[in-house]
């Protein structure tokens, strides 16, 4: 295991040390005391295991292609934005726009995720152990958003693809979003995703998708 103490180091220094360690073949890297710094562990394209032992700021683990990033604290805005593959796991809470525009891989938030979680998702899966805020799933194109807790207002507003699964209450659906029945395969998919994340949920999952895709399904399109 390769350790980096982030105290008294700038964001640039911490990221440079991470990249140096990756280039030297380290595959298990732990960063201690990140103290909320922004843009840590961004755009890593190797299958490394990167742990932040503490709270991180904006864009942590964004644009990764293969890494497994763990945050043992909370994370700021845009955690895992644009993730291509791999995973970003936040053990605490996440700020706005977690998993924004992600293409693949998994973003998992054990606590609550704030407004616009999964905004503009293109693929991959997001699993949230707690609640999500206002306009989560806004303009989703594809991928799955699994919420073990409650969802805020305008869930899935403007989504044209993808699926949103919610175990708790939904305060308000966005325009063009309807509730649909889960298929047996989807029940399995959601149960497996929650179990793999080590999370639990209180109720039965409901599924929400764009009205057009629900209509196509009914019409056999």
């Amino acid at each position: 295991m390769f350790s980096i103490d982030a105290v008294k180091r700038s964001t640039r220094e911490v990221n440079r040390l991470i990249r140096q360690a990756v280039a030297q073949g380290e595959r298990d890297i732990h960063v201690y005391d990140p103290r909320g710094r922004h843009s840590l562990g961004v755009a890593l394209a190797e299958p490394v295991h990167l742990v932040f032992a503490g709270t991180v700021g904006f864009f942590c683990g964004a644009m990764g292609d293969g890494p497994t990033v763990e945050v043992h604290g909370s994370a700021g805005w845009s955690t895992g934005e644009g993730l291509q593959s791999g995973s970003v796991v936040v053990r605490g809470h996440a700020g706005n726009a977690a998993a924004a525009a992600m293409h693949g891989g998994t973003v998992c938030v054990h606590g609550n995720a704030a407004a616009r979680t999964g905004i503009g998702m293109v693929g991959g899966m997001v699993v949230v152990g707690g609640n999500v805020g206002y306009m989560s799933g806004f303009m989703m194109h594809h991928g799955d958003l699994v919420i073990c807790g409650n969802a805020g207002e305008r869930l899935g507003h403007g989504m044209n693809g993808g699926r949103i699964f919610v175990a708790g209450a939904v305060k308000q659906l966005g325009d063009g979003v309807v509730e649909c029945d889960l298929t047996p395969a989807e029940h399995t998919l959601v149960a497996d995703a929650v179990a793999a994340a080590g999370l639990s949920h209180g109720g039965s999952f409901r599924k929400f998708c764009p009205v057009d895709s629900a209509k196509m399904r009914r019409d056999g399109g």
Binding site: G36, S74, Y134
Partner: protein, 316 residues
Amino acid sequence: MYGLVGYLDRTGDDHAPIGRIALQMLRALAPYAPDSTGAAFFVPKIPGHVFVAVNIEGDDVRGLSGRVVRRVGRKATVVSSRMVGNSLQLILDQLDDLRGIVDVVESVSDVGEVECFSMGRSLSVIKDVGSIEHLEEEYALSAIRGTHMIGHARLATESRVDASHAQPFWGRPRPDIAVAHTGQITNYHKLRRRFEAQGQRFFTTNDAEAIGAFLALEMESGASLEEAMRLSLDVLDGTFAYVAATENQLGAAKDLMGARPLVIAETDDFVVVSTEAAAVCEGLEQELVTWEPDAKEVHVWSLESPLHRRAAAEPR
């Protein structure tokens, strides 16, 4: 715009190191906000005493400050007067007309060179152009002790860079209320005209000043801080987050779209708020679990109810 901070001590200690915490929190925001910095501190009350912070501009700062002290001396006992930079810091006693003293001070200049930055039995606003390091050097922030504070580091976007436009703003005319804000209030001019028609005086074109005015006017009408803050979300247009504090409360609010960052961390000993987790962790010198309120959320914490903790403020 840029970053804001807030801290409230829950231990019952009225000599908590709020100056040092403000310094450390604002240092974390400083790289992005070089224009001006400030904080509103709530310090221990001294029976009978009133704190007044006066900013003096123009070519004759020394002469104006002397005139302020002489005029104030006719209305109250001046316990102490200290000039730091352009800021005249007064402690008064035996003051019969708490609010009237502001007019006495500001009437010294008829061209707006003399402005009360704060007035109250606990509130002291310190703000200036430049970084937090400048503020520490000039005003020795780190030595300030009290119960709670809010602060701001500014990257100017829409109004002048001077001490007057720096944040936090005092919610005049009400004693002991201050506000700091990030974002834009898009109906600022409309609100300002309305408040001016109600007799409110404005010294800047910074939209945060209008939030202070709104809260003060609502509270003058009998609203609690929390009620005024909740109402503000229906009245203020734009994307913003703000913190406000009175002599015994700290509050934080987020706009309808949740389009500005705001994080909160709570322990048994304190509540801390900022636009960035970095300021929370650096300010308290420890890793803390932060969480972000959703759109249109208001949270208020009181000195009197230290057990108002996370459970009551759990996000949906």
